[in-house]
Subunit: 144 residues, 4 copies
Amino acid sequence: MQDTLRIRDLIERVTAMPGYTSSIGTQVVDVAPGEVSLRLPLRPELVQFNGHFHGGVVAGLADHAAGAAATSMLPPGRIAVTVSLNTNYVAPARGEYLLAKARTVQTGGTISVATVEVTAIHLGKETLAAIATVTLRAVELPST
Amino acid sequence: MQDTLRIRDLIERVTAMPGYTSSIGTQVVDVAPGEVSLRLPLRPELVQFNGHFHGGVVAGLADHAAGAAATSMLPPGRIAVTVSLNTNYVAPARGEYLLAKARTVQTGGTISVATVEVTAIHLGKETLAAIATVTLRAVELPST
Amino acid sequence: MQDTLRIRDLIERVTAMPGYTSSIGTQVVDVAPGEVSLRLPLRPELVQFNGHFHGGVVAGLADHAAGAAATSMLPPGRIAVTVSLNTNYVAPARGEYLLAKARTVQTGGTISVATVEVTAIHLGKETLAAIATVTLRAVELPST
Amino acid sequence: MQDTLRIRDLIERVTAMPGYTSSIGTQVVDVAPGEVSLRLPLRPELVQFNGHFHGGVVAGLADHAAGAAATSMLPPGRIAVTVSLNTNYVAPARGEYLLAKARTVQTGGTISVATVEVTAIHLGKETLAAIATVTLRAVELPST
């Protein structure tokens, strides 16, 4: 319990730091050991030519969710950084917001692997837009 | 020649359209058949907690460069959209700007494949930050 | 029902044809629309230096399971061939046999995507050894 | 020089050990620091339904070449094992033999990344059949 609070606090703080994740409006929805959900509302500066979320934005959200999920399984003082990010786009990311749900499938001393489902919510209907597999490695958390 | 001009014009227009690629400041550097280079200067809203370009930004730039390179090999009226995007991060993307150089390795009736090298330029020194392999498929260009 | 029988028959026949899948001993376990399970017993010629299933064998089994699952969703006369195969190895593939369970997450006119879990069964205990994401495209079934 | 001989010897020995790589007939062609080429002649038990090399065989050869190239950059007593293997099939692997040429693009204390080109040689003509990106990690070489 205590630990879930610590992890949620860490993920909220990293997400809210000045930079990419905060500037695009990333919201932390749920945090549990090995599972993190993020939410990203649509903004004009996040779309591609057809008005849907840009593929880079989808990949970036998946990446951040996977990093948070993997980090949630690490001991205090360590953070997971991405080694590789594989994203498959299975439907247009069209909607008022995206949801990225990440789940760890491996946590080792060095390597973690998380899978992510990114859905687009349009008029209350949720459509799977992308799946991602993210490989990460654990490093010391830089003191901030 | 004529055709290279047409392709460059198309890529410049798609990149400059309101949305993600223009809002982050993506610049088209070079366009040749099957090869496109993009440049992305550093901005505070593109970084992660350590001040380097965020992995999602790196992936998005690679994606856009690959899409442009693949599209450059298609007949007029068709555009390449991403099926899958695989990015390996090999060094911190630290620098004043990124360069993404995409090159097609396959152009079929349906499927294209492009590889991308993303380098970070810091104080004039260029470091390979990420490599990506992008699978795309050709669709009709939406009339705009 | 009729259709499930047709699909199972097709997958059994393709798996049993002279060549790689039959020579290594691939067995079809379950076939349902969009879901296929394969089984591969251990043989001395399938191992790597440590006695576990070789990574190439694991990837090949995942590939075949994904192809079968994707093909099961196509109309008669069409077969899914692999465009890209992404495999993450999450634990040693140590055991008396492997099970590969593939499930389609997208079936389009051109592109299909399937995810696969490969588990290794050792002394009755099942361990997740690898996950794979496979992108495929539909082609005409060669008449044989 | 001495070191290249040591590395070549290690790769030859690992490749020739009883198991998958020797049973399919893998040959070591070239070994240099960070670069390894392998050759695989066609055999009836390596093909898929159309008579071309099976995708799993192509992936396995790429994997072994990448592992050898990554290991060649490690200090004595360490070996690179695969974390993830991403293969794109860009043309049918049709020919009398395959050539896999692997090259490391990153060698870290923990993680290595290698890219591989697999070509098929048919009647003296070499065609790019697949490209792969392989992520590996260094482990202690098991004493054998």
